[in-house]
Amino acid sequence: MELTGAEIVARFLADEDVEYLFGYPGGAVLHIYDALYQQDKVKHILTRHEQAATHAADGYARSTGRPGVVLVTSGPGATNAVTGIATAYMDSIPMVVITGQVPSPMIGNDAFQEVDTVGITRPCSKHNFLVRDIAELAETLKKAFYIATTGRPGPVVVDIPKDITAMKCNYVYPKQISMRSYNPVSKGHTGQMKRAATMMLKAKRPILYTGGGVVLDNASKSLIALAKQLNIPVTNTSMGLGGYPATDRQCLGMLGMHGTYEANMAISHCDVMIAVGARFDDRVTGNIEKFAPKAKIIHIDIDPASISKNVSVDIPIVGGVNQVLTALLKLFKADEREQDGEAIGKWWEQIEKWRSKDCLKYKQTKTGAIKPQFVLDTLYKVTKGNAFVTSDVGQHQMWAAQFYKFDKPRRWINSGGLGTMGFGLPAAMGVQLAHPKAQVACIAGDGGVQMNIQELSTCLQYQLPIKLICLNNGYLGMVRQWQEFFYEGRYSQVHVEAQPDFVKLAESYGHVGIQVTNSADVESALIEAFKQKDRFVFLNFITDPEENVYPMVPAGAGLEEMLLL
């Protein structure tokens, strides 16, 4: 069938079963938008900023496991999308971003709205393409989806010059693709797995350190089975929350800079660490010299380059997390050898001692000033732990990670690796579109919520009943906390002095706004908000301004050197 390049893009996306396309039009993509107008299979979501389009696609991807798809114009459209691409790249989120480009003959001439999109996105995407020939368009798009969703997932950019979208070419949907230069490994090495099994069976103080890879590879079930089989405690990274049920006895919660006392102590004293789909990020390890000093380390990851990058490991296993965990479980089931039950029992006794410290405790105020932790505690109660929770970046993000107990994967959606303020609200849009009936809460701070506040308009257009929970401390709180602890309280540029009236702001966008200033009203406000099933509700919680996130491992310190409240 003879189609124009623009029609090929639209047809291809439909053939690829793309449900939503998040985008923003402009000159270089006019033909594509015209082709989209003439079809109704792919639903286009018009955000109010290209960054928001990428975060929305990202939220869609994180909550469904399917690739998020974005369309933006050349030049500023592409550069606005870069933050979202980099955010997805750091967290290995499958995404395909189609960018318009100036017509091929004008490339390199500093044409109107020309930037070197391939050059700019090269270091922050898994791969990118500049389409030079209409005959390669469909295949290139297929490659983009294939690369984005296989191996260690990530965003892929396809830059399409405007003239290509006007040319005609025969179109057949490329069902399958193979690339001689790209063969993602998926199966772990049997010998390595046997060695790992022996090490795990002999362990006296084992721990599972699990990350985003468990969520990305849908490996929760096998992780739970394995942890249960050997009675091993589990700690999650922020990216891994929900990969192992938070309310299970064996879950020690998050580790790292703002991790729990029990998780960080257990990591510091374990003799065998099984790292699963995690990458030893500096926010997790603290001072690397002091990280898990007594441990032999087994590392399971799909990306060989993640192994022995920051911490050298004893038994590397390259492979899909789910496949490896399943295979390990099989080995254990067939294995006659016994664990050292006594040692494991003692290990758990020690862990319970650490846990009894109740490191996340906080005191309610006498004045009625709202503790941010209490809002999250209450949110958990009101939603019965069933909500999808997206977060922005800052103190509120850490409290959300600590206090909302995620029992299922893909429910906790946050920018872990890049720490992108402005992520939470647009990400929630993608989540709500993917799960129209589900309760979706976005936790934000008064600073970050203003970084993509224009999306309140998108939320009205598509009737997205998100509940935005703004923990308003009047500060760029996370930065303020560091200035309080490490700069003798010199609060440099962290006071958000002039704030809009968020309730009126929400109302002017056509939404419901609720202001909450007293602790006694927190629960009723949340219940009221979630009752409004079809409305977007902006809840502005005025919180205790100088509350800090504890525990905290100061930069440069080891995990054992936590500051506790």
Binding site: H127, R180, S181
Partner: protein, 164 residues
């Protein structure tokens, strides 16, 4: 430690910049880099010389392998191999004595004089890097007007080969 790495990759526009970009983004050093298409024009062959601890070089190899356009990567230093580099050098050659002297020196090093004027010789010399260094040193007091070095190309010895 010095490492010499062979890379076989898709001969795509921008392939070279992916490799160069990787090295600059991750702060790896490049001592030399040569690249040209192979007999199969859809593939490029690159030889890259770098320095780093074993841990860094292991990361370099993994990161190179991770590039989507890269088909194969080999640390040539792990196996017996041959390295060659080409030097073109333009030298001032004035006066009969001096010209004779330079010609003798070129012969000793098996360099070829490939261009001649009244006042200059241009020599070509191929060999391992240290041989090229030695030649330049031996030129000593002669006035070097210009040098061009190709960077190292390498191939493994024996029947083993890096191909699809």
């Amino acid at each position: 430690m010095r490492h010499i790495i062979s890379i076989l990759m898709e001969n795509e526009a921008g392939a070279l910049s992916r490799v160069a970009g990787l090295f600059s983004a991750r702060g790896y050093n490049i001592e030399s880099l040569t690249v040209a298409p192979t007999e199969d024009l859809s593939l490029s062959r690159m030889t890259l010389v770098t320095r780093g601890s074993d841990q860094i070089v292991e990361q370099i190899l993994k990161q190179l392998n991770k590039l989507i356009d890269v088909v194969k990567v080999l640390d040539l230093g792990d196996t017996p191999h041959v390295e060659r580099e080409m030097l073109l050098v333009k030298i001032e050659a004035k006066g009969a004595d001096n010209r004779d002297e330079l010609k003798r020196l070129a012969d000793i090093f098996r360099a070829r004089i490939i261009d001649v004027t009244d006042t200059t010789y241009t020599c070509e010399l191929t060999g391992a890097g240290h041989k090229l260094d030695a030649f330049i040193q031996a030129l000593g007091s002669a006035t070097i007007l210009e040098t061009v070095r190709s960077g190292v190309s390498g191939i493994s010895r024996g029947p083993k080969s890096l191909h699809l």
